[in-house]
């Protein structure tokens, strides 16, 4: 190499540094990054205090990382090179075979036990205070439990079966649905999304059939519902974490019924359809069901005059199940405890509740769900 070639090489490299630096500096900054479904770091507050204790510079570095130009492409370059290097996972998501992505599952014993004990305490209270209300529990296992043959070689995958079967003796006041055994026979069908942590509405359908026994209704058969493929471009939470663009997107099938119900937001009084088309053009297409994250809503079914009232205390796994159950109740109230700030006890005592269904994903139940709100 001579001086002329060196000059060109140096200028090229410095131009690389400069280009991204300037691009970063002058591009308009987004607040929300749809691909990762999260809010990005805002420009940190600048003051003597934040400068001298290092908070400013730390937050600033996160700010640069979060808003770095073409962030999605960089994430995908990293995911792809991890995959090429033979890694089994990226950011905690396994590269499975047959297009499956799975989250690594590690039991957090203390969170799990705390959640079980909160349910038990609530059960004891309800047994005395709400004798007419039947309590039901449904935990949705992770997809890795049903499709473990698609996991990478030797991947750790603690079984959730014993955790789920231990729920029945631990919760005498609850009627526990064994979701794993319910879903297992149908595992050749698309019970879960391959690129997201949620189950599909088909998975929820088999659980709905199983629930019919304990909740005492006559489930509609498969053919009653009009199964409609509403999207073929859904890339979920696993997809963003793994960031391997050659895994293909999921299809979303929705079970529609002739009744075409709406739900009412009990806080605003506004009503909307159970399935909202507008989410399908966004990144988080699972929001199609029940409009994203409903905090406190009610589905009223004018065709059912049986007076039955079901309260669902739930996380997002419920969003595909609620529309199916709503066919059989005059009212289904859907409560997300995270956003529910009234007294649950007072609410349940004031309303006439026939059945209560607690539903959550096993992954959610493995975190601190702050179920203390169950006792208020």
């Amino acid at each position: 190499m001579n001086e002329q070639q060196a000059k060109r090489a140096v200028l090229l490299l410095v131009a690389c540094f400069l280009t991204f630096g300037l691009w970063f500096t002058f591009q308009p900054k987004q607040q929300f990054f749809a691909y990762e479904n999260r809010y990005l770091q805002r420009f940190p507050e600048l003051s003597w205090q934040t400068l001298s204790d290092g908070r400013f510079t730390r937050a600033f570095e996160t700010y640069v990382t979060d808003h770095f130009p073409a962030r999605k492409l960089w994430l995908q370059l990293k995911g792809t090179s991890e995959w090429l290097l033979g890694k089994a996972e990226n950011n905690g998501v396994y590269f499975g075979t047959n297009n499956w992505l799975f989250e690594t599952w590690n039991l957090n014993n203390s969170h799990w036990k705390a959640n079980v004990s909160q349910l038990a305490t609530f059960g004891t209270w309800a047994h005395e205070q709400l004798p007419a209300t039947q309590l039901n529990l449904l935990l949705v296992p992770t997809s890795s439990q049903l499709y473990s043959e698609s996991l990478p070689w030797f991947a750790a995958n603690d079984t959730q079966a014993h955790l789920l079967s231990e729920l029945t003796p631990a919760l005498p006041d609850w009627n526990v649905t064994d979701t794993l055994s319910t879903l297992y026979p149908y595992r050749d069908q698309a019970l879960y999304f391959q690129t997201d942590h949620h189950w599909t509405q088909l998975g929820a359908f088999y659980a709905y059939q199983q629930l019919a026994d304990s909740l005492d209704f006559q489930a509609h058969p498969f053919d009653f519902w009009q199964w409609e493929t509403v999207s073929t471009s859904f890339t979920g939470s696993y997809y963003a974490k793994a960031s391997v663009p050659f895994y293909s997107a999921d299809a979303i099938r929705a079970a529609k019924s002739p009744t075409q119900l709406d739900y009412v937001n009990l806080e605003t009084g506004l009503s909307e359809p159970l399935y909202s088309q507008r989410y399908l053009s966004q990144n988080d297409q699972y929001g199609y069901f029940l409009n994203g994250t409903p905090a406190f809503t009610q589905i009223q079914n004018p065709t059912q005059q049986n007076g039955k009232h079901l309260v669902m205390i739930k996380d997002s796994y419920a969003h595909v199940l609620a529309p199916l159950l709503a066919e059989h109740y005059e009212r289904v109230t859907v409560i997300d405890l995270r956003f529910f700030n009234q007294s649950l006890h007072a609410y349940l005592q004031a309303e006439q509740v026939d059945q209560l269904l607690f539903i959550a994903g096993a992954t959610t139940f493995n975190t601190d769900m702050q179920l203390g709100k169950l006792q208020r």
């Binding site: 140096v10 540094f17 991204f20 204790d53 290097l85 030797f154 960031s243």
Partner: protein, 455 residues
């Protein structure tokens, strides 16, 4: 600030490079000083004044040492003062908590000295300022007349926070007169990007394996996993630290400084003595120059030589951290080196090369166990897992998963830790690929520690 961050790479570095080369040579020391202070303050705003104090203090004390060079007593006084202040600051900020804790344990006292946060780079810049004053005292160099130049040397951001420990004598001339050329700058950038790749693409990635192994409950540990884990740590610390040195040397070269090499493929060593001639060379040189040789080195009796080695290795260990495990780590190598020197080396010479490699690597593995656990009972437990295949199980599902998951990366890293690396032509397209990959890994980085910042 750290080199392996997007803020440094895409904001700080281009800004500094462009400004530096736009201005004529006479402004460049000043610009470098400004850049270095900003660089240091970014990560450690509170201790900026501590570093500035050291700089000002050593600037004046060296002048005094030089002025009184003919008067033995006065000279000794000023050298002593310099040692007391520099080592006192280092001792206070780095060792106060450990020393008071030890005193409390031994004498059942109740000294309540809480350990302050360690000022980044204090171990490195203290040794640099000491080398400056001591070299002036030994008459090897003249004190720097320009405060700007001395401050530029001490705070020089490429090597400020994690070495190599650059001796003033080595870059004295370059503080006044630096040549720059496109070829030099290119070779500097090349070296910088290689170091960046080592750090982000190798050290951080094999470090993930070590992190996982450390978190494994002992019921899930196996003989095989324990070995994989410590091998990963050995590779992590090598690529981390030598990558940092590469980045420092490369950046220095861009600005016209020649720093001495700090690593020379240490893992190909055939004895522990050789390893220490290839690992963190600038630290070894420092201790040899300013401790071992002044104590008489090996030109004294056998027992005094052993004493000298023991002192040097105690200090080497202690320099790495205020904890018993670091002291034992230093002494561990001291003992091995003394044994090698007096008995083992002749015996080893007659063995095959592979056996010598194996001998060295196994001893290093146990050394890294000592280095990585501050809790000595953990050192003991982990060592027993390595020594006894039946302490846990031989192999389990985790071991096999790690082997498949990290195997290719470990293999690539191991190969790149040998001189085979030099066979790869570091062409411009390859550098750009490394830079792109580094950027991708930094954009998605949740794990980016710098091991040598603790020191």
């Amino acid at each position: 600030m750290v080199f392996s961050s997007l803020t440094f790479l895409y904001l700080f570095l281009p800004l500094v490079l462009v400004t530096y080369f736009l201005f004529p040579a006479r402004y460049r020391n000043f610009l470098l000083l400004l850049a270095s202070l900003a660089f240091y303050a970014w990560g450690e705003p509170r201790y900026l004044f501590l570093m500035l104090f050291s700089t000002i203090f050593d600037f004046f004390i060296a002048q005094l040492v030089y002025r009184y060079r003919q008067q033995r007593l006065a000279k000794r006084f000023f050298v002593g003062l310099s040692l007391a202040v520099n080592l006192g600051l280092l001792g206070f900020f780095k060792y106060a908590g450990f020393l008071s804790g030890t005193l409390n344990d031994v004498f059942h006292l109740d000294l309540a000295i809480t350990q302050l946060a360690l000022p980044i780079g204090i171990s490195f810049y203290t040794f640099q300022t000491l080398s400056y004053t001591l070299d002036v005292a030994r008459g090897q160099i003249q004190p720097q007349r320009s405060f700007l130049k001395l401050a530029t040397y001490i705070t020089l951001f490429p090597q400020l926070i994690a070495g190599p420990i650059v001796r003033y004598a080595d870059i004295e001339d370059q503080l006044s007169q630096r040549t720059s050329s496109w070829l030099r700058s290119y070779s500097g950038l090349q070296r910088f990007i290689i170091g960046l790749g080592k750090k982000v693409l190798l050290a951080n990635q094999v470090g993930l394996l070590w992190q996982e192994v450390q978190l494994l409950p002992s019921s899930e540990m196996s003989f095989f996993t324990a070995w994989l884990g410590i091998i990963a740590f050995g590779l992590q610390i090598y690529f981390d630290f030598s990558g940092y040195s590469d980045m420092a040397i490369g950046l220095g070269r861009i600005f016209g400084f020649d720093f001495l090499e700090n690593f020379n493929f240490p893992y190909i060593s055939q004895s522990i003595s050789e390893f220490w001639r290839r690992w963190h060379i600038s630290l070894g040189t420092w201790f040899r120059e300013y401790v071992y040789i002044p104590l008489g080195g090996n030109r004294v009796g056998r027992w005094q030589e052993i004493r000298n080695l023991a002192i040097v290795w105690f200090l080497t260990g202690f320099w790495h951290g205020a904890n018993w495990n670091f002291i034992l780590w230093g002494l561990y190598f001291g003992v091995i080196i003394i044994i090698e020197k007096h008995f083992l080396s002749q015996w080893l010479q007659r063995r095959s090369r592979w056996l010598r490699h194996l001998y060295t690597l196994i001893l290093l593995a146990f050394g890294w166990v000592l280095f990585s656990f501050e809790d000595l009972s953990q050192v003991w437990t982990y060592s027993s897992w390595l020594l006894n295949p039946f302490a846990t199980t031989l192999i389990n599902q985790h071991s096999l998963f790690y082997l498949f998951h990290f195997g290719p990366l470990l293999l690539v890293s191991a190969i790149l830790a040998t001189p085979l690396r030099q066979k790869i032509p570091m062409t411009l397209p390859l550098l750009i690929i490394i830079l792109l990959l580094v950027t991708a890994y930094l954009v998605d980085a949740s794990f980016n520690p710098f091991l040598y910042f603790r020191f």
